[in-house]
Symmetry: C2
Subunit: 182 residues, 2 copies
DNA sequence: CACAAGTGTTTACTTTACTGAACATTTTGA
DNA sequence: TCAAAATGTTCAGTAAAGTAAACACTTGTG
């Protein structure tokens, strides 16, 4: 844990071309502390880490979300988007097999009458989508709406939510959400 | 600062229906510490805060990015998605006027020959998309590919990237990305 | 009512985060 | 070539984080 923090801090600091002493003077933190944090020999307080990061500058949020890695593949052919069907609902996820992604982009298709049960187990993150064709009845919290082609939705996944196709033609849409687990 | 952390922790804990002691037993942290953190009287170490958050469970990333607020609107009619055109490229963003969102879902249209310059100023986050119609030539890092209907892409925005429509019909796609700024 | 089990808070005490000043090396420049 | 001024690391002292055990209070149950 502290090894991770230290390594990441060192990477950010050196990438910025700063020495431990420079960063220390800049932030009012002892250079010894920065050295020990980077070596994983110190268990920094949040306020301490924040002071140091302010000098880089990087937010705590950015620091812990840590998106510095490179993706190994960028392009996916249509037939690679394996379809997952469940009842009258089918999904095709872009980049489903990527090991570390923060967006789930789905092409979804709801057959007439199909839908999801109410998601009682709400998850973190956010969801949004845009209707390509057909009609979809969406309930979020205590609000319900029937969306048609070109309409869209956006909500925090912590809201209980459900989808249902009330029409008599399939409903196609594209949805994007942040992953359920952090 | 510690007031903020404390308040946020208390909000998350109580929303979860946990008492300080329950959370303490669950995580192996003294309930007194949780009490003091919530009161802003303690300056927790990162590892300490992480142990506590693991019991909720919330990641450090989610904790500091703070996506617990409720969206005020969930549904958007097609004509509300105001179009932004720039050269031969047009965008329609879902939930563009939401004050705090972590996904940018765009319906994009590239006219024949249109494209973006190479994005030299790379930003944080990730981008992905799915081609609805037409063809789009995408360059990411040192890789280039021409995608057609149903094809998709996914990459970290820190990679230099550019888009261009090499065909003679408009190219429509849906893209999703995490916001450029933290 | 009384008592048991829960809640969050406060208080000594132990552990440790954090500092300032040393250290050993490497780089810069006259 | 030899200071001079960087670099990162180690170390003793101190300020504070974190704990265990009390506290005062509320809630439910026989």
């Amino acid at each position: 844990m502290n090894q991770d923090i230290g390594g990441r801090l060192r990477e950010l600091r050196t990438r910025r071309g700063l020495s431990q002493r420079q960063l220390g003077r800049l932030t009012g933190v002892a250079n010894a502390s920065i050295s020990q944090i980077e070596a994983g020999k110190l268990n920094p307080t949040v306020s301490m880490l924040k002071k140091v990061l302010d000098g880089i500058p990087v937010s705590l949020s950015a620091f812990f979300s840590g998106d510095t890695e490179q993706a190994e593949r960028f392009f996916f052919r249509a037939d690679e988007l394996t379809e997952i069907a469940d009842g009258g609902v089918s999904f095709r996820q872009v980049g489903a097999n990527l090991k570390d992604h923060s967006i789930q982009l789905l092409r979804e298709c709801y057959q007439p009458g199909a839908g999801t049960g109410r998601h009682a187990i709400t998850h973190q993150g956010e969801e949004c989508g845009l209707i390509l064709s057909g009609r979809l009845k969406i309930t979020v919290g205590d609000q319900t709406s029937v969306l048609g082609e070109g309409d869209a939705y956006y909500f925090k996944s912590s809201q209980p939510h459900s989808f249902h196709n009330p029409g008599n033609v399939p409903c196609e849409l594209i949805s994007a959400c942040t992953p359920p687990t952090f």
